[in-house]
Amino acid sequence: MNESYAGRGYAERGSARGGQKNTRAGGAILAAVALLSTFLVILGLYYAAGDRERHKVALAAAGCEPNLLSINVGCTTVQMLNSRYKSIANPVIQQVNADVAAYTGNERHHLAAAEAALTAEVTSENAFGVSLARFPFPPAVAPIAKALIQANQARAKLTAEQARSSSLTQLRSFNERVKVASAAVQTEMKLTRRALDSRPTANQEP
């Protein structure tokens, strides 16, 4: 298996019958593989020539929003858009739920801890707002997304105010308003997700 000397070994035995047979076998293998490769490369080029048609068919089958996200394929499918939206929304939902649980556990007896939970919630909500503002929503979804961003901002503002409370009573006095604001955010999130799920009515691929 000593490769560097294998070649030399073959070369030295070049005149010997066994060596010739071996080099002949090597030539045959190389020729066969080269032929196979030529065939595959030609097949590949032929296949590549039809990619425009397949591209259109694939986009029509998958549902597509053009030129939103992908620098490579020039198209974002409904699934891709949904997946990306989930990758932004799900961590925020988890984080906010954890913060709300921490707040609920402390709202009656530990002001500092409850305020810390609310501050963390504000951070998550603001980060969510920034992510939503950057998200490439399709034109059809953009107004719903705008409503979601506004609802989220309103909740973040209210939560920030709540976090500045000076007593536990004042803190709890915000609960109802925050609940309403959260319900508004949830409603807008549902609407946004539903809008993202729906396929465009016509193929928008340019």
């Binding site: 560097s4 030399r8 090597g26 190389l30 048609e53």
Partner: protein
């Protein structure tokens, strides 16, 4: 001391070029040995000319840098690219990016580095030049780093259920990937001159594990993506650009491996050596050209995947494709 000196005398070049490709451990003659390989004087002279030219210096920022060093840095930079793409998410500990794209970016990067590492021996066989041989160790190390990074990312940040170890073994493709990483660890640890000296002849046997990893990669990709390709919105190899077959990782593997494997077969190497001895280099290049074209075909889509997913990872906006 004496043992070390003796070893160096027996295997002078190997002492400087430990790397994870055993085939390559083999092709580590120094230049003096290279002159005795039976090539025609003219060919030998041409190869030596390139090697000697590479030893020359170019002026860079007031100091002289060896051409070989500059070329190795430029070529070797590709090996670091996958890790470079992941750096921002590592610095900011962006678990969303790490969880979503580490497998694509580092997994594809590991595959690219493995193929580049395995490419060195066929390149030496074909060209007879040796100045790029140090890249083999570099690409081998980068392969191990990408593979280990991929496994760590999958263990701690993937969506699969269970503890980190369970995440690595609960699917057949993750289990095979984990096995590959386990095999890469000893190769990574022993990819230095000290380990090579200490292990002596066992070092080469240990490095044979690279071939096992190469084989396991086939099964890893087969269980990950299967033999089919995307039809409509189902199957592997995202068809956004209308070329699902080219984006199928298993096919990329096969296209690249055909070249790497064929040029390692002893009869083929013998035939090449015999033709080179006869001074018929053109025939060799002509015969190998279609196989290399197929290699490039497959490799281009690996690079495409790496750059596409990598740039998304770099801006911490992981691709959902």
């Amino acid at each position: 001391m004496a043992t070390t000196r003796d070893y160096k005398r027996v295997a002078p070049a190997r002492g400087h070029e430990p790397d994870p490709d055993p085939g390559d451990a083999i092709g580590t003659r120094n230049e003096q040995e290279g002159t005795a390989d039976g090539y025609e004087p003219q060919q030998r002279a041409a190869k030596n000319r390139v090697n000697k030219w590479m030893e020359g210096r170019i002026k860079f920022g007031g100091t002289g840098v060896k051409r070989k060093t500059a070329a190795l840095v430029l070529l070797g930079a590709w090996g670091f690219l996958p890790l470079f793409f992941m750096l921002p998410s590592l610095f900011t500990f962006n678990t969303n990016t790490i969880g979503n794209s580490v497998d694509d970016t580092l997994g594809t990067g590991a595959m690219m580095n493995l193929f580049l590492c395995l490419l060195i021996t066929p390149a030496v066989t074909l060209t007879g030049q040796r100045w790029f041989v140090p890249l083999r160790r570099w690409f081998g190390i980068m392969f191990a780093c990408c593979g280990i990074g991929d496994a760590l990312g999958a263990a701690f940040f993937d969506d699969f259920a269970g503890n980190p170890f369970a995440k690595l073994v609960e699917h057949s493709f993750t289990l095979l990937g984990f096995l590959m990483v386990l095999l890469a660890i000893p190769l990574f640890i022993t990819s230095n001159n000290w380990a090579q000296r200490k292990l002596g002849r066992y070092w080469k046997r240990l490095q044979m594990l690279t071939y096992v990893i190469w084989g396991l990669l086939f099964f890893h990709l087969a269980t990950l993506e299967g033999f089919g390709f995307e039809r409509g919105s189902n199957g592997s190899g995202f068809a956004g650009d209308g070329d699902p077959i080219f984006h199928q990782r298993l096919y990329q593997y096969c296209a690249c491996s055909l070249f790497l494997l064929t040029l390692r077969l002893p009869p083929v190497k013998g035939w090449i050596a015999a033709r080179q001895q006869e001074g018929r280099n053109r025939l060799v290049y002509l015969s190998v050209m279609p196989i290399f074209a197929l290699f490039l075909f497959g490799f281009a889509f690996i690079i495409n995947e790496l750059i596409f997913k990598g740039t998304h990872s770099f801006v911490e906006n992981p691709s959902s494709e």
